[in-house]
Symmetry: C2
């Protein structure tokens, strides 16, 4: 068994206990809706990364539990609101929050998760983290939330634009997805009292695995087994998302196939047309391209990791495994 | 001129400068949407209250500027999301955020405002507030956001319920509206290093003027001059809101008029029917009842104020004026 999975298995109950204690309250529809996605599953990658980094720089990972819960709450908050905007109906194998409780309660459930992020962070004090560090963590969490909102805005904007460059795409996913990995790693290092140079390297590691994660997400959205994935395939195509696959395919396909793809993207529910578009994308070589690109970011991440101050040999291995897992995962 | 208005006029540029500096960024549609409501106006009651309390307990109010901005950002965040849920089309004399930018951007604009709440709070450090106090402020802001979401959930739930008791109503508005006044006052006192007994009294003051504020809001929603108010009258009736006026009228009206009211509430856009319902409510004595109730909460607030440690005579007068203004305001 991979060391990172073992570590994840060990820390998960601590993350979840802390998180679910914050998600108890009334009115019940609000708290049920807010805890729906965290209860449905999820890989807890971001909090596990955070705790691994804290351990890796030589601090007891238990000190960082509230921060780990905070980052998972922040992630789940963005999922609940994004699912409303993207009109996604399934995630983690269950119907989305707005699908069950309606949009109003889904907005409020997201807001509740968001407010709990900062309640969790404020509780780091009780875990022996110095007050000025706690304020730093709050600052990073709020900045990350800002950047994620910017990224989601771009993601929505790109649906309406015909041509999006790879550069624009990378900027968008850096904000929308990679930021949370970056600050998870950063916060873990802050709590572990790492030096500022080391923190920089650890942030780079987080950022690069985050970019690789989103590219892999784009790939799985086109190729994955629906049951494993927990959400419908082709939903990116259905929603007209400018994934790296779409962007790359559009740059490669001959004119008439490009026009076909543009006519399907975000404009049909017809499964046969969507399937044809997916085949076209794969045939264009965009899939291979994306896989190669993701690997490049993993490579970058591993270089940053090497240059960081992660002392703990075991954690070093774990973070290496995590980076590799991210581009190999099937869900 | 009232002292509180004078103070408000003096501090407002500081609140706004701090707030709008946080609301600059890209993508432009996100930041334009997020700054739309704060730019459109608003009375800045909560931040002014916060700063007055800081001054009143003997601290330089300038030290609390980031917290004042934070509470105004939090208030505006709730307005943007509430307007989506309530389908309100006007506020502060301008179209609401979702009306201009659509629901997706409105959700994100609210989220951005929310994240800026905590970025603002974290900047209290730069204003010389001790780190442990900053963490306390973060904790209070996040708890308040939680309670406001609970209150808004109840407000939505009550639309679907036929009978809501006055007690349930008071619990709902305490969460939805009064909480922000309460923690504005509390945070002002925390930053001003007030004793915990004094903080308790100041919180009570804030809570009670907050309840009075919402009752007055209910009254204005039925009786105000539309232009002064900046939003359509009767929108509470149109949305089926269980305001104190509706609740009290339902308890007083004879059966057939009660049935008429229930048939109109949340079920028609017909201005003549809405007008008739409003007249019925007023005729029932519910308006007088609500006005009396609001005054009682102001009285409670003034008693708490008297028992608090507000030393500064000028601020004492200001907070007295604020409490009275809240039930006399026409918008």
């Amino acid at each position: 068994m991979l060391k990172i999975l073992e570590f994840g298995k060990k820390v998960r109950p601590f993350i979840d206990k802390f998180m679910f204690e914050l998600l108890r309250g009334k009115p019940s529809e609000l708290y049920d809706a807010a805890s729906h996605l965290p209860k449905a599953g999820g890989k807890r990658l971001r909090p596990v990364l955070l705790l691994a980094v804290t351990k890796g720089v030589g601090e007891n990972w238990k000190k960082a539990i509230p921060a780990a819960a905070a980052i998972e709450l922040l992630h789940n908050f963005t999922l609940v609101h994004d699912d409303i905007m993207d009109k996604d109906e399934f995630r983690r194998g269950v119907p989305t929050v707005h699908k069950i409780w309606g949009e109003d309660i889904a907005i409020l459930a997201g807001d509740l998760l968001f407010s709990k992020v900062f309640e969790a962070a404020s509780k780091l004090l009780d875990y022996g983290v110095e007050p000025d560090k706690v304020v730093q963590v709050v600052n990073r969490l709020s900045q990350a939330a800002t950047i994620v909102a910017e990224g989601q805005t771009l993601d929505l904007r790109f649906v309406k634009e015909v041509y999006v460059s790879e550069r624009e795409y990378l900027d968008m996913i850096e904000r929308k997805t990679a930021t949370l990995f970056k600050i998870a790693a950063e916060i873990g290092a802050i709590i572990g009292n790492a030096s500022s140079e080391c923190i920089e390297k650890i942030k780079e590691y987080g950022l690069n695995i985050g970019i690789a994660f989103q590219i892999r997400d784009d790939i799985l959205g086109l190729t994955a087994d629906e049951k494993k994935l927990g959400k419908p395939v082709y939903s990116d195509l259905r929603e007209g998302k400018k994934t790296i696959l779409v962007i790359n395919a559009l740059s490669k396909l001959p004119e008439h196939e490009k026009q076909f793809l543009l006519k399907v993207l975000g404009k049909t529910q017809d499964i046969n047309l969507l399937k044809k578009a997916a085949e076209l994308i794969i045939r264009s070589g965009a899939l291979d391209y994306a896989e190669e690109l993701a690997k490049q970011y993993v490579k970058k991440a591993l270089i940053s990791l090497e240059q960081s101050c992660i002392q703990d040999k075991e954690v070093y291995e774990m973070l290496k495994e995590l980076a590799l897992y991210i581009v190999e995962r099937e869900r």
